[in-house]
């Protein structure tokens, strides 16, 4: 995949997670073991020869895993947008968001102008909000959300992609388009 920034919105995010749902079964999600590991364990203990039962079990496992993935990924997106809206309300502009929703502990990086990250008021209010979101996530999923801020200057999009931040939105471009559309 090219390290290009996707212009965003909820619809695009859903499109992204649907496109990547096949990767979910390869990961340990929300306290579940890899589907194949559970299936293997089940197969070994499966002595009565009911192949249909085995198939149902695997299908149920797959559905459960995907359902948890969608629920968790959606929450990561919602919490990220909550931070973005909080910052916007306080007149702070967010440039981009980068999400890794496939990791065992999902990760989010929010990029802002370099000058904001040396503004004490911004640092205090933004990190307080971010920690509030992390707390909500860990209460909901018994897992951790790694969310943080980075300077937009010199930001290496390709490296972020390579590190697993597969979904991103360039909010600065979107904001520019919205402003232009109003004229």
């Amino acid at each position: 995949m090219n390290p290009e920034i996707i212009e965003g919105g909820t619809a695009l995010f859903y499109k992204y997670i649907i496109q990547h749902q096949d990767q979910v079964s390869k990961h340990y999600i929300d306290g579940y073991y890899h589907v194949d590991v559970v299936a293997e364990a089940y197969s070994q203990g499966f002595k009565d020869g009911k192949e249909s039962g085995k198939k149902d079990f695997l299908e149920e496992m797959r559905k459960n895993t995907l359902e948890k993935f969608f629920r968790r990924a959606t929450q990561v997106y919602v919490l990220t947008k909550t931070v973005v809206e909080f910052l916007n309300r306080n007149k702070y502009k967010v440039d981009s968001i980068y999400l890794d929703v496939l990791a065992q502990c999902p990760r989010v990086i929010i990029s802002v102008n370099d000058s904001l990250l040396i503004d004490d008021d911004f640092v205090k209010s933004s990190y307080a909000k971010i920690f509030e979101m992390k707390r909500i996530f860990s209460e909901l999923f018994d897992s951790n959300l790694d969310m943080g801020l980075v300077s937009s200057g010199n930001l290496n999009d390709a490296l972020l992609k390579a590190d697993g931040f597969g979904y991103s939105e360039n909010l600065a471009i979107n904001e520019h388009k919205k402003t232009r559309g109003k004229k």
Partner: protein, 147 residues
């Protein structure tokens, strides 16, 4: 070496790298100023907060904190420990140092003198807070973001 002594040692090194004319190919080590400031902050804060009772468990070190919070990683457990026990200002400065240190690879390690200075300032504020009575730097209800 005690945790606090390790913090003092790191703080001194961070300060030396920032103030003295130590360079590599003409460039100062501002990225390391931030990273070492972060590691210094870790030691000061752990020394200040621990031991602590968390979820009815007496925690003397970070592994016990991790277990008491039922968190998978030391990094997350430490951050939670800091936010649960320090006011927003100090906790935010800690998170800033953490992010600046961990994410500098995404900005190709380009760190300005202003950012290095900020790391020094935040570390000094953390060190100062860690010398005060715990009640004066504990989180308060007014610390939470309101809107």
């Amino acid at each position: 070496m005690s945790t606090r002594k390790q913090g003092e040692r790191n703080s001194k090194l961070s300060n030396i790298l920032f103030t003295e004319n130590i360079t590599f190919e003409g460039k100062k080590f501002y990225d390391w100023v931030i990273t070492i400031s972060f590691y210094s902050a870790i030691h000061f804060l752990e020394d200040f907060i621990l031991p602590k009772t968390i979820n009815l468990q007496q925690c003397k070190n970070l592994n016990e904190v991790k277990s008491a919070y039922k968190m998978p990683g030391r990094h997350e457990a430490r951050e939670r420990l800091v936010w649960d026990n320090m006011n927003t200002e100090i906790a935010a400065y800690y998170s800033w140092l953490d992010n600046k240190s961990r994410f500098s690879r995404y900005t190709t390690y380009k760190v300005t003198i202003t950012e290095a200075q900020k790391a020094q300032d935040y570390l000094n504020k953390i060190i100062t807070a860690c010398a005060l009575p715990a009640a004066t730097v504990a989180p308060t209800a007014g610390d939470q973001p309101t809107t």
